[in-house]
């Protein structure tokens, strides 16, 4: 067992998969000699050379679009978008090409590729180094969307993503890159998509979250425990497909749901979860499903962390649900 951070887990997953399967290539801005601006590809260029670790020109359309072509032709590209905020110049390649090539060709072609991107706030990055654009991907049929929140998950899920035959958007909560350390098995393992992790069991309230705010949710749950409230914390881990069963089972048990995410609220993935809970569990609800989300403003530089669901904000919402 080695102790590692999320960024180290990502690097290990890439390294193991590149060693295992020579079709796996990495491409993006500064992924070569520089090893990526977060060092997630550090050492890979030296180990696998410039044909498998490709420094691209500064164009996200080139990165994602080329990945589509490589994948269609038989490689397993892992594209890095330097910050999730910069996916938009390549967004058409993602929605019009990657997401639709299997479908539009009647299954003749496929694009087994991963688009990795550091996402989320909390690093004093202002609007263009802090956004959480997962809703745009989740709303695009044909894409799978994965958001790990721990080193163990990052490793196992990234390996699954690379082996998956569909395009996977893999979002790495950058504020957790180095803040969480965890023991991870030395043996190789993968983790399935579509299975949430129950981070904490509880009977009074369910918190459904993913990515960065998993941390604040767990902290809030600890606070609640102090006042005798047992919160169950579910980390979705994959958004498409998401683990409805685990969520509904939990909410059926607790009767109270908070959906916690740092993306803006309006028409968000959090709204999807809340709407589904309401649609399928109305009679078991003791309180309305409450969304605790980022605000519907661009992500501000000042204040930085207050934009995202804070422990206090989660507790305020929990109070509402409990006192309903």
């Amino acid at each position: 067992m080695a102790t590692m951070t999320i960024v180290q887990a990502v690097k290990r997953a890439l390294d193991e998969e590149m060693a295992r399967d020579e079709r796996v290539v990495v491409l993006g801005e500064d992924v070569g000699k520089r090893g990526g601006v977060f060092l997630a590809t550090e050492g890979l260029y030296q180990k696998y050379g410039p044909d498998r670790v490709i420094d691209t020109p500064l164009s996200e359309a080139a990165i994602i679009g080329a990945a589509v072509g490589m994948a269609v032709h038989g490689l397993r590209p892992v594209a890095e978008i330097q910050f999730a905020d910069y996916v938009f110049p390549g967004f058409d390649q993602l929605v019009s090409q990657a997401a639709k090539i299997r479908y539009r060709s009647g299954g003749q072609f496929q694009a087994p590729m991963v688009v990795r991107m550091p996402s989320g706030g909390g690093v004093k990055g202002g609007h263009h180094h802090s956004q959480s654009p997962e809703t745009h991907f989740a709303h695009t049929a044909g894409l799978k969307v994965v958001v790990p929140s721990t080193p163990y998950d990052a490793l196992g899920l990234l390996k699954t993503a690379i082996r998956d035959d569909d395009p996977v958007v893999f979002m790495e909560p950058k504020r957790l890159y180095r803040s969480i350390k965890e023991e991870v098995p030395d043996e190789e393992y993968t983790l399935p998509f579509g299975e949430a992790a129950i981070r904490r069991a509880g009977s009074d309230l369910t918190m459904i979250t993913y990515g960065g705010p998993t941390v604040e949710s767990l902290k809030a749950a600890e606070e609640l425990e102090k006042v005798g409230v047992q919160a169950e914390v579910i980390d979705l881990r994959t958004l498409v497909p998401w683990d409805k069963e685990t969520v509904l089972n939990s909410v059926a048990k607790t009767g109270r749901a908070l959906v916690i995410a740092e993306a803006p609220r309006m028409a968000s993935f959090a709204s999807e979860v809340a709407a589904t809970i309401a649609e399928e569990l109305l009679d078991q609800l003791l309180a309305p499903p409450i969304r605790v989300t980022g605000f519907d403003t661009p992500y501000p530089y000042i204040p930085d962390r207050l934009y995202m669901p804070t422990v206090t904000r989660i507790l305020n919402a929990a109070k509402k649900a409990l006192e309903y």
């Binding site: 359309a61 090409q97 009647g106």
Partner: protein, 361 residues
């Protein structure tokens, strides 16, 4: 060796059908006649599509008459089923020349189960795995970047393959077009970019599309050669493409080839071209018809007579009629196929949604 960046388009047959190349023609009579037959077949296919539209068997056509020489020339320059093609919606003659079965093209037009793409897209959006023909997507220029990616895969894996990607003059304005050519240039990818410049993007004429005199000039920006070719001349189209393809195959990197063509019809069956271009312009270009020009050439070599021309047309017409018959009598794509191929396996939410649809059928 052709020169890039010439003032005048490269031409090998003059309007009267004379060979004006400064090298020896090295194509067999069979090869020449195949070029001819492919152009004729393409023209006929185009005409059939319009009949399909009139009779309500399809909902959309993108006329390609006028593009035949360029498309047939390109097709002959690559190795079908080995090299890859990333085409756009006006490439029916290219695809037919590559051996794309006509009944599958018709099936795509009509949305029957014979379409290997399962009727997922509107007409004029074919694609074929066995032929390495990437299924056409509507967003202009969006296929150019995947084309570069495939070429990079070929290069990194040393497969010896080459990519051909085509697009119209309008496509050159899209950001993705730039991103693709730039990346290909940097990496020396084995790819040929072929612009079918028919001077209009729907109604927008080339002077409003670009301030460079030629599309070929844009190759300067990407450190690759840019050739401008008379795309109404099938031999010029073929030879320049052949050279560009072999350069790419030999590892000398990408090239941009601009083929000057004209579309005789409107942009599409939804378009009325009379509001943006004068009839006389169309008529003037019809006088430069690529098929007639090549007939004159063949005639001079005693390879063509009017009767022979009629015979080829008849033969090709019959083949197309049989293909059309087969394609159209096949079953329409069933609605519930809608839920297949979104992902390799159907996730729970699509299972649920499929049930919702089945409930109402």
């Amino acid at each position: 060796m052709f020169q890039p960046f010439t003032e005048e388009p490269i031409r090998l047959i003059d309007e009267k059908g004379n060979w004006i190349g400064d090298f020896e023609l090295d194509l067999s009579e069979d090869a020449l006649l195949t070029l001819y037959r492919n152009m004729v077949a393409g023209r006929l296919l185009d005409e059939r599509y319009i009949v399909l539209l009139r009779t309500g068997k399809t909902s959309f056509v993108a006329p390609a008459a006028g593009h035949e020489a360029a498309q047939v020339g390109m097709a002959a320059a690559i190795r079908p089923g080995f090299d890859w093609v990333f085409p756009y919606y006006r490439d029916k003659t290219l695809l037919l020349s590559l051996g794309y079965p006509a009944e599958q093209l018709f099936a795509q037009m009509a949305g029957t189960v014979l379409d290997p793409n399962k009727g997922r897209q509107m007409p004029e959006h074919p694609g074929h795995k066995d032929l390495n023909v990437f299924t056409v997507a509507s967003p202009i220029a969006s296929h150019v970047v995947p084309a570069v990616g495939a070429a990079l895969s070929m290069k990194f894996q040393g497969t010896g393959q080459v990519v051909l990607t085509t697009f119209g003059d309008g496509a050159t304005s899209e950001g993705d077009w730039h991103a693709g050519l730039n990346f290909a240039g940097v990496q020396g990818a084995p790819i040929v970019f072929a612009a079918e410049n028919n001077r209009y993007a729907i109604s927008v004429d080339f002077s409003k599309q670009s301030a460079s005199a030629r599309i070929a000039d844009k190759a300067h920006a990407y450190g690759m050669p840019g050739y401008v070719v008379d795309g109404m001349d099938v031999l010029a189209s073929y030879y320049v493409m052949r050279e560009a393809v072999s350069r790419a195959r030999e590892g000398l990197g990408p090239a941009l080839v601009e083929l000057l063509v004209y579309r005789y019809g409107p942009h599409s069956s939804a378009d009325d071209d009379s509001v943006y271009r004068p009839k006389e312009e169309v008529e003037a270009w019809k006088k430069k018809d690529p098929i007639t020009r090549f007939e004159r050439f063949l005639e001079k070599r005693k390879l063509w007579t009017p009767e022979f021309g009629e015979q080829v047309r008849d033969e090709e017409r019959k083949k197309l009629e049989a293909a059309e018959e087969k394609a159209l009598s096949a079953q329409a794509v069933p609605p519930e196929w809608m839920f297949d191929d979104v992902y390799a396996e159907r996730p729970w939410h699509l299972e649920e949604q499929k049930r919702i649809l089945l409930e109402e059928l």
